[in-house]
């Protein structure tokens, strides 16, 4: 069994490396459509990492929402603005230095937090299996209020989108 474990380990590290490569592709590639595809690859890779961490449900939801819905939307927008896909557009502007400084600040902060947090590995945590049923009960019981708040926000977004996209009636003032 040790040999198998070794294979799994190598596989996971290769996957991580691939995700990083694609993530670099998202920010460095010139063609917007290629960037979007790289982003899709990153998201799928992340989902596979979740599978490696035995969070199957999270992985499935990640693919369903990010790859199935959000990425499709992103690519749709790119297709609607076809000329952006053709030209290689400029990748930096005057705000780049400021962005680099603030981002490195965030990276340092996150790294410090990650290093300081003790990550307790207990037997109980290792045995815990996030079942879908437990998740559903938590959403409907303990976390019912935040769940409902999010639903209300989403409904508001939907209604807002419809209100904006609504065709103006002939007599209506467009301004």
């Amino acid at each position: 069994m040790e040999t198998l474990e070794l294979f799994v380990r190598i596989g996971i590290y290769t996957l991580m490396a691939l995700v990083l490569v694609f993530a670099l592709g998202v920010v460095t590639l010139r063609n917007l459509f290629h960037c979007a595809l790289c982003l899709a690859a990153v998201l799928i890779g992340t989902a596979m990492l979740y599978v490696g961490l035995r969070a199957d449900f999270l992985a499935a939801v990640q693919i369903l929402i990010y790859v199935g819905a959000v990425m499709t939307l992103v690519i749709f927008v790119i297709m609607l603005t076809e000329h952006l896909g053709e030209k290689s557009i400029r990748q930096n502007n005057r705000q780049s230095p400021a962005a680099v400084i603030s981002l490195s600040g965030i990276v340092v902060l996150l790294a410090a937090l990650l290093l300081r947090t003790p990550w307790p590995v207990t037997d109980k945590a290792l045995q815990a299996k996030a079942s879908v049923m437990a998740l559903g009960k938590a959403l409907m019981g303990t976390y019912a209020f935040p769940f409902e708040v999010i639903s209300v926000i989403l409904i508001a977004c939907l209604i807002g989108a419809i209100a904006i996209a609504k065709k103006d009636l002939p007599g209506e003032d467009v301004s």
Binding site: M1, T3, L37, D56, I63, L64, V67, G68, T72, F76
Partner: protein
Amino acid sequence: MKEIEFFVDLIFVNAKGWCLDLLGHFLPDWTVVLVSIIISAVVIMVLGPLVMMYLTLLERKVIGRIQNRYGPNRVGKWGLLQPIADGIKMFTKEDIVPAQADKIIHFLAPVIIVIPALMVFLVVPFGERMTAVNLNIGLLYFIAVSSITTIPIFMGSWASRNKYSLLGGMRTAAQMISYEVPMTLSVVPVIMMSQSLSTNTIVMTQAGDMDLHWFVFTPWGLVGFVIFFLCAVAECNRPPFDLPEAESELVAGFHTEYSGMKFALFYMAEYMNAFTLCGIATTLFLGGWQGPLFPSWLWFFGKTFLLICVMIWFRGTFPRFRVDQLMGFAWKFLLPLTLINIPVAALWFFVPEQLAWIYSVPILAVSLWGLVKLNRSFVPEKRIYPLAD
């Protein structure tokens, strides 16, 4: 008698177990695990293309009969070798790539589209103990993986640098996103009843006496099944929902610029999707491999091919939708009906059976009638063309 039945039922499972036992004598433990995975993978990778090959033949035969002609009958007895001849033709055809195309993505699209189509085979329960991987989120896995299919279609349509391809890609996106919503929601009652996302457990809960306790025999199950099946037809872009590749408007839609083996891969993914979607519809509503007398895998394949024949029958009879009708059908008709279906299923769960029939049939009938009334298209006496002047 019972023993023979049991033996036939598990014949494939036993064959695999016997192979592994044999290998276990002279190989280390970890290789046996690997071999077990490899056997399942190889079976699926052979089954997918094989199913696709003979689906094309079945489709051409049935469509031929519907249109009052014979269909392919020259290669082999009853044309049985026709798919192999087709395969040879596809392999030897010239592979044409448009000069302006984005070469890498143009190449990757047909390769990638086959991957999710094969991956969903993993959770389809082909028979008793014949699920390749018994995931406890099987159904969610199926929905998630099959939702990836839009991206390779997009890649193919964008990379071809062709107006028809691009239009086809746009239509695919709109259609697949729209029909995914009612499809996912129509599955919810099944999950509520079986209290599980595992495809195996869902089949198990439909056992009952005579193994005929299928979900389709309940009002919510019937409505859910019809909605799921219609959405499945739309998801694999088959007529009458084949707007992404409508040949009378868009040449061939997203695969206009593909030829030879790349085209065959698109075709293969489409047919494998049709098969898996029918298989999942069988699993969810038609009791999967449950059924009296015959072995379980025979029941599964029988039901699945029956559904596929219905798909072919649709193709032979119905004219294609218009784009606005297509969208309206998903959002204004199927979606509200699924939303009504979910509380009806909840009612079914809590109320004793006879009472539940009395409640749920009128609710569903009235809502169906109301939706049909509300969706009646409005034709004004004098047509107004706001953009004409």
